[in-house]
Symmetry: C2
Subunit: 312 residues, 2 copies
């Protein structure tokens, strides 16, 4: 990346980091190379890490994500009465990529983590903060897709489907492979899963929506949490939200509310976030965790795309 | 690294990066993971890189230095009539460390490279720039050790010593192992090497110094270059310079003028620089190269040390 583009990216990330800092999310840094054995519990995290051997023969992993190291720092260095904790980061992460996928091996992530807050409050706070960060970067048209990993998860559990079958269906949902979704949902006896995976509701239209009609239990924790969070958002924010009930978390450790950020100028999610209580438990904490991360280079490309009038 | 310290480090590096940018050194970025085969010529560079294998079975190296990748970009992407080129960077580098050496495996380097300028001009410009960067970071007491890799190099070559013997002597000089230096210098028939390795001259006292007295040819390119560079520095800067004729480059590709930056509050060099014409030639360019890099966390520690009154 050459000087003119670097200067723009530097200015943009400075504004974003300052916004997070002013919102009480202090920037932290963790090593990029971690001992593999210190990442116990991280089987819940991204599995796409590069691995190498150090001068003593110990296995190191090149950080593929910041949430797992931050959770580890939070659990080992802070006391329960320090909660809630608010951290931000601007950090590189590396992940193995599929051949010819066009994905970047290295990403410069900007993110925030809120640990030990009430789950619903945390989701509402971080959704709003993510929106402010995107606006501060210069994006006018950002949108949020909002879902909950538990909706399809609980449906599949209730159906008695095997773990392997459930995983296959969720993967097809994640890849938006609707032919496979339809076939598997029918085979597993949960045809409503295919309907749910297709359902999109504008944030403003949620009040008039009947979950029972598509096979969702309105008293379930997932539905209750989702609607409460939408209700807690500002009216302006709500117009940017689409409830996407087929939004399956791309990162394994998200286990409740999950969201992605988009911009019409870019054909991929700019980033996303969600709750990761099970990851906290894997590190021995009963506190809740919620975070988001944005790919700064995609956000920068979206700003440039909006300036060229793309997607509008 | 936790929020308060990160905030200080962030502010400090912002000021430094902006200073370099305003001086015409535009920030660049290169991948942290490079294909090993693309680093041909880098045998002149640091050999302490971590190596790993990617998803296609290709060998990757984790960047151990920014100079080599920048030289590669400069030689492959720019034309001769673009010269001189000025680049800066704020980037992480990783290197294998000796057990129990207390060295950091990962460093956040700030640096500048000047490619295609006259060698003496380049050295004077980058020495002055390095001083400005250190002042901008908040350091009051920085000092510069200045040497030339050719002084001992040419002496050893003229003596007919073998490559292995020369390397052993230079390594002992680099480690300031003066017992070994004395023994090897005597054995190889260059006792003056031991005198030179001990010689320190204040920048202000250079005029009255007689190089012949310690066995240096005053007409050699190395001595002429060194004295010309010192003459080109401002009087204020000259008071901070010590000619250290035993200053052997810690990085293999420095092959002419070489320097290190110090502060009395910290017991190690904060960074350093030098000329690397042979590295340029290894990548197929006949242009000159000169650069420096500072360890930002050491600079930050030095600022904190000065504030506590250490070393003064």
């Amino acid at each position: 990346m050459l000087p003119d583009e670097m200067r723009e990216l530097r200015e943009m990330t400075r504004v974003m980091v300052d916004l997070l800092d002013n919102a009480g999310y202090g920037e932290v840094r963790t090593p990029t190379l971690e001992y593999e054995r210190a990442m116990a519990g991280a089987e819940l995290g991204p599995s796409a890490a590069y691995r190498l051997i150090d001068e003593h023969g110990d296995a190191l992993v090149l950080r593929s994500d910041m949430t797992v190291p931050i959770v580890r720092v939070a659990v080992t260095r802070y006391e329960t009465d320090d909660l809630p904790l608010r951290f931000s980061y601007l950090a590189r992460a590396w992940r193995r990529v599929k051949p010819r996928s066009g994905e970047a091996r290295e990403i410069l992530q900007l993110g925030a983590e809120l640990i030990g807050s009430e789950p619903i409050d945390a989701a509402a706070e971080l959704l709003a903060l993510c929106g402010e960060v995107l606006s501060s970067a210069g994006l006018a048209d950002w949108q949020i897709g909002l879902g909950d990993a538990r909706i399809l998860g609980e449906l599949l559990e209730a159906s008695g489907a095997s773990d392997a079958d459930s995983r296959a269906l969720l993967e097809a949902v994640r890849d938006q492979d609707l032919v496979t979704v339809d076939a598997l949902a029918k085979e597993l006896g949960v045809p409503q899963a295919a309907t749910i995976a297709r359902t999109r509701i504008n944030g403003d239209d949620l009040e008039g929506f009947d979950p029972v009609g598509i096979g969702i239990n309105p008293d379930s924790a997932a539905w209750s949490d989702l609607t409460t969070v939408v209700g807690a958002l500002s009216p302006e924010f709500r117009t940017r939200v689409v409830l996407d009930l087929g939004l399956a978390p791309k990162i394994d450790y998200y286990d409740g509310i999950v969201f992605e950020a988009y911009d019409p100028a870019i054909g991929r999610a700019l980033g996303g976030g969600g709750s990761y209580d099970a990851l906290m438990r894997a590190f021995g904490s009963s506190a809740s965790g919620f975070g988001f991360a944005l790919d700064t280079e995609l956000v920068h490309a979206a700003v440039a795309g909006e300036e060229r009038g793309e997607g509008s």
